[in-house]
């Protein structure tokens, strides 16, 4: 294990954060979550910029949570980049080497090497205020890598960039992390960015880890309706009734839209204790399709917007009949797009074998659901 967080708790006023996970060497973990969920606080706690109340942080077998920041050997790219405006680019990059009393020759060589790798050789004598947004990003990244840290922490470094540059920098960061076999944690609230960069994803909400795994694992078992909706993993439908199915291992689930679906009972559910308000039906995106024929087991929806593009992902924005304020984005694929017009009612067929009941909010059904392993 490269990084291990064991029962870590951070308190900031009335806000409390708990984390317990590990990250293998050379992997990129993305911490994803809405604003204020504690992802930056967690990153700062790992860097030693935030005091932890409980638990341990172990990096490459060494407990680091008692060490001051400057002794943790961690690279940190801040959201505002925090470049030293009074220093030239070369002095920014060479800063950590100077602090560690490396000799001048070595500092110059390492700075030149990083500048070449990050394609910023021509900027070395400039001040940060003379750089563009993308150039500043590269300098900040090169600076944090100068003293070959054991772990890279990236706190939403792309949030201030415009969309095309953000896309370009995403590719660049991923390439650099992969080439250097770096272990990294990247924080973002952008699902697309998370999917693009991550080997593993942690989803946080209100100071707690509410989802953890690869993208595939999260799609298969999102752990809560909230998470599935947040990441647009599939259809999340409120349920009005749940009864045991005719077959012993099935459940008959009635949704708000009036559709009754027979789904497999993957978890040991005590139906009598199950609160309908706290439960939802999750239909993975891969289990849905636009149906051209009518069926009572289909889910009805209205096309609000049709986005058709050759260069971008074509999709439909759907409003599910019977559910207010829920807009579902459905990728179009190779469907006959000419029959799908804005305002038209359509039906979505569901592969019920892949559906599952989830708690609406994270941990809401912990007392009644025991997930079946595998």
């Amino acid at each position: 294990m490269s990084l291990e967080l064991q029962h870590v708790r951070v308190m900031r006023g009335s806000f409390s954060l708990e984390a317990d996970f590990s990250l293998q060497s050379g992997k990129v973990l993305v911490i994803l979550g809405p604003s204020g969920c504690g992802k930056t606080t967690l990153l700062r706690a790992i860097a030693g910029l935030e005091r932890i109340q409980r638990g341990q942080i172990i990096l490459d077998g060494v407990r680091i949570d008692r060490l001051p920041t400057e002794k943790r050997h961690i690279g940190f790219v801040f959201q505002d980049l925090a470049l030293f405006e009074q220093m030239r680019v070369k002095d920014n990059i060479g800063y950590s080497l100077k602090v560690h009393h490396e000799d001048k020759q070595q500092i110059q060589e390492r700075t030149a090497l990083l500048a070449h790798r990050f394609k910023i050789e021509h900027l070395l004598n400039r001040y940060p205020s003379e750089l563009s947004g993308g150039e500043r990003q590269r300098v900040a990244f090169a600076r944090s890598l100068a003293s070959s840290p054991s772990l890279m922490l990236l706190d939403e470094p792309l949030s201030a960039l415009d969309a095309p540059l953000r896309r370009e920098m995403r590719r660049f960061i991923r390439l650099q992390l992969a080439e250097g076999h770096l272990t990294a944690i990247h924080v973002t609230h952008d699902v697309e960015e998370a999917v693009d960069l991550a080997d593993e994803i942690i989803v946080m909400r209100d100071g707690a880890v509410v989802g953890y795994g690869t993208m595939e694992e999260l799609e298969q078992r999102p752990a809560s309706g909230w998470l599935a909706r947040f990441m647009n993993l599939g259809l999340v439908l409120p349920v009005t009734n749940i009864v045991a199915g005719r077959a012993s291992d099935t459940l008959e689930v009635e949704t708000h839209a009036g559709t009754v679906l027979s789904i497999p009972n993957r978890a040991s559910l005590d139906i009598s204790r199950l609160s309908k308000d706290k439960t939802c039906l999750y239909v993975p995106l891969a289990a849905t399709d636009i149906s051209e024929s009518h069926s009572d087991r289909n889910i009805r929806a209205r096309i609000l917007r049709k986005i058709h593009s050759a260069s971008h992902i074509s999709k439909l924005v759907l409003m599910i009949t019977g559910i207010e304020n829920y807009y579902f984005e459905f990728p179009l694929g190779s469907h006959h797009t000419e029959i799908l017009q804005e305002g038209k009612e359509i039906e979505i067929s569901v592969d019920t074998e892949r559906c599952q009941l989830l708690p609406e909010e994270p941990f809401a059904l912990d007392d009644v659901v025991q997930p079946v392993s595998g």
Binding site: R44, A47, G48, L49, P68, T69, E70, R72, I74, G75, F76, F78, Q79, D80, A82, L83, F84, E85, Q86, Y95, S96, V99, H100, R143, S144, A146, S147
Partner: protein
């Protein structure tokens, strides 16, 4: 803004320029005339006679002393103020607001009141002496230090350190921690991280506060007059001596020119750093979240609090105590009552009521005049800048705004005295104080005008408002509270001013600060405290109102 209004505004501005520069010209004219008086008609001989009246050693001696005491006082004020600025900017603690509020002291408590407070507290017979005699059993242990170079430095430093706390904390609050944290993640220890991530942003603010304090100490008059006698005199005090005891106008002229040139250097430093400080404030915008102090931090705050209470708040409190303490023969128990106030109201000559009335009347007039002038100047500067930022007019108004910081108040006072045909001292006082106060009003209002987001005005225009209407509803409405605040500030400055009345040597009119000075000089300290308390309450109350107006706005 319509063209006609702009023309009217610029016309008024010309009057302001004349109003501000004419006393200087009048003084120059009279001083040169009198300096050359009695000389032969040979031009060379007249000039020699003029030079003969200027003792070079006096100028050099006073310049050296002025620079030395200003620099040392500034350095000590910065050293005392910096920890306070850090605590206020970063931590949440009991007394934080009080520490910030102390910044009002240099502005709303006239120097004469602070001088009195220091005499009562640090003097040989003061409260500190009593404490030491209680501890060591004898008064002889403590000889007092006020009437020395370091005494003068201490008064200046303690009078001005709240400016450092206020100005630097306002800047520090906005400097994000990320650069310091970035330095830490790159391996820098706490001190190096501070040097890399915080200090570069803080330095312009420190330079600005130091520049301002340097100028205040450089022009220090009353404090040096009272405490500096034995060790040296500042240029301002030399000007006073030359005017009053020698009528040596040639010396006054040269001294004031030397003074102005030195002050301009300080102003240059101020204006150069002002831009950088404002940029830092604008770029970082939002203030950082305050946190609770921990461990050693808490201990430092407590020690600092005790230090400030003991050395700074103590003297101020002693005014209130002494105002109510009735002097009693040695051996008798100390009595408290309103006797000191009664003596001032109903005793021999009973000067208090008259002094209050003349202060309100004269300072009120000066404040009104300064406010009107300040409004016009700030609007003219605002619109001139909007049209042409690099133009001559904005530059000229900027320079004028620094006049009271660069020119001796004696020059303004005597300039107006020479201009008034019948030499009416009170009108010269009002005009001189107005010339000194209007730039403060103008600078405050101009800052408010600059702070208005231009897009708000543009939004009004897109919603159908004419330029005049947009101006009335946006700019004018926004700066109205600032006008009230600036007027209050002008009143605080003029009501507490003792320099101009002393320079004019006023005999027929008694203002509160003048009364305070005379009572102090006559060692009638308890009555001086009673008068001082009233003056402090008056200026403090007006300043408090100003802060409330700003809060409400």
């Amino acid at each position: 803004m319509t063209r006609r209004i702009t023309v009217v505004l610029y016309g008024l501005l010309c009057i302001i320029i004349l109003f501000s520069l004419s006393p200087l010209a009048a003084f120059l004219n009279v001083a040169l005339g009198r300096g050359l008086e009695g000389a032969s008609t040979v031009p060379g001989a007249a000039f020699s006679n003029f030079l003969a009246q200027i003792p070079l050693s006096t100028i050099l001696r006073s310049l050296e002393f002025t620079l030395l005491q200003s620099l040392v006082s500034t350095a000590v004020a910065v050293v005392i103020g910096l920890p306070g600025a850090w605590f206020v900017a970063r931590f949440r603690f009991v007394g934080r607001k009080t520490l910030l509020a102390l910044a009002a002291v240099p502005f709303c408590f006239p120097p004469i009141l602070v001088i009195l407070a220091f005499i009562l507290y640090y003097g040989k017979e003061g409260l500190l002496s009593s404490v030491i005699s209680l501890l060591f059993g004898s008064h002889r242990q403590y000889q007092g230090f006020l009437y020395s170079f370091w005494g003068l430095v201490m008064v200046h430093a303690f009078y001005n350190f709240p400016i450092v706390v206020h100005q630097i904390s306002a800047l520090w609050m906005r400097i994000p921690e990320t650069q310091k944290e970035a330095a830490k993640t790159l391996g820098a220890g706490p001190l190096r991280a501070f040097r890399t991530g915080t200090l570069p942003w803080l330095l312009p603010g420190i330079a600005q506060a130091a520049g301002l304090i340097f100028l205040y100490c450089f022009f220090s008059f009353t404090t040096v007059l009272v405490f500096g006698g034995k060790v040296g005199t500042t240029i301002e005090v030399e000007i006073y001596y030359a005017l009053h005891y020698q009528s040596n106008y040639a010396l006054v002229l040269v001294l004031s020119m030397v003074e102005t040139m030195c002050a301009l250097l300080g102003i240059l430093l101020l204006t150069r750093t002002q831009g950088r400080t404002q940029r830092t404030l604008r770029n970082f915008g939002r203030a950082q979240e305050l946190r609770s102090p921990k461990g050693l931090q808490r201990l430092f705050i407590v020690i600092y609090g005790i230090f400030i209470v003991f050395f700074f708040i103590g003297p101020l409190l002693s005014i209130a105590i002494e105002a109510f303490r009735v002097p009693s023969p040695v051996g008798r128990a100390t009595k408290f009552g309103l006797d000191n106030f009664e003596r001032l109201v109903s005793g021999f000559q009973a000067p208090l009521l008259e002094a209050i009335l003349s202060t309100v009347r004269l300072s009120g007039l000066a404040a009104i005049l300064a406010t009107i002038t300040g409004i016009i100047a700030s609007l003219a500067l605002f619109f001139a800048e909007k049209r042409n930022q690099q133009g001559v007019l904005p530059k000229l108004i900027e320079v004028l705004q620094w006049l009271p910081m660069a020119v001796s108040s004696a020059i303004f006072a005597y300039g107006w005295l020479f201009l008034s045909s019948d030499r009416v001292v009170s009108s010269a006082l009002v005009l001189a104080q107005a010339v000194i106060a209007w730039p403060f009003v103008s600078r405050a209002l101009h800052a408010s005008l600059r702070a208005i987001d231009p897009q708000v005005r543009e939004a009004a225009r897109t919603l159908g408002a004419s330029p005049l209407r947009a101006f009335m509803t946006i700019e004018l409405r926004t700066i109205l509270p600032s006008v009230a605040a600036a007027a209050a500030f002008a009143f605080s400055i003029t009501a507490g001013d003792v320099n101009v009345p002393l320079m004019l040597g006023m005999g027929e009119v008694e203002t509160l600060p003048l009364l305070l000075y005379r009572l102090t000089a006559a060692y009638r300290f308890n009555e001086a405290c009673a008068a001082g308390l009233i003056l402090g309450i008056m200026t403090g109350f007006v300043f408090f109102l100003k802060e409330k107006v700003i809060d409400v706005a």
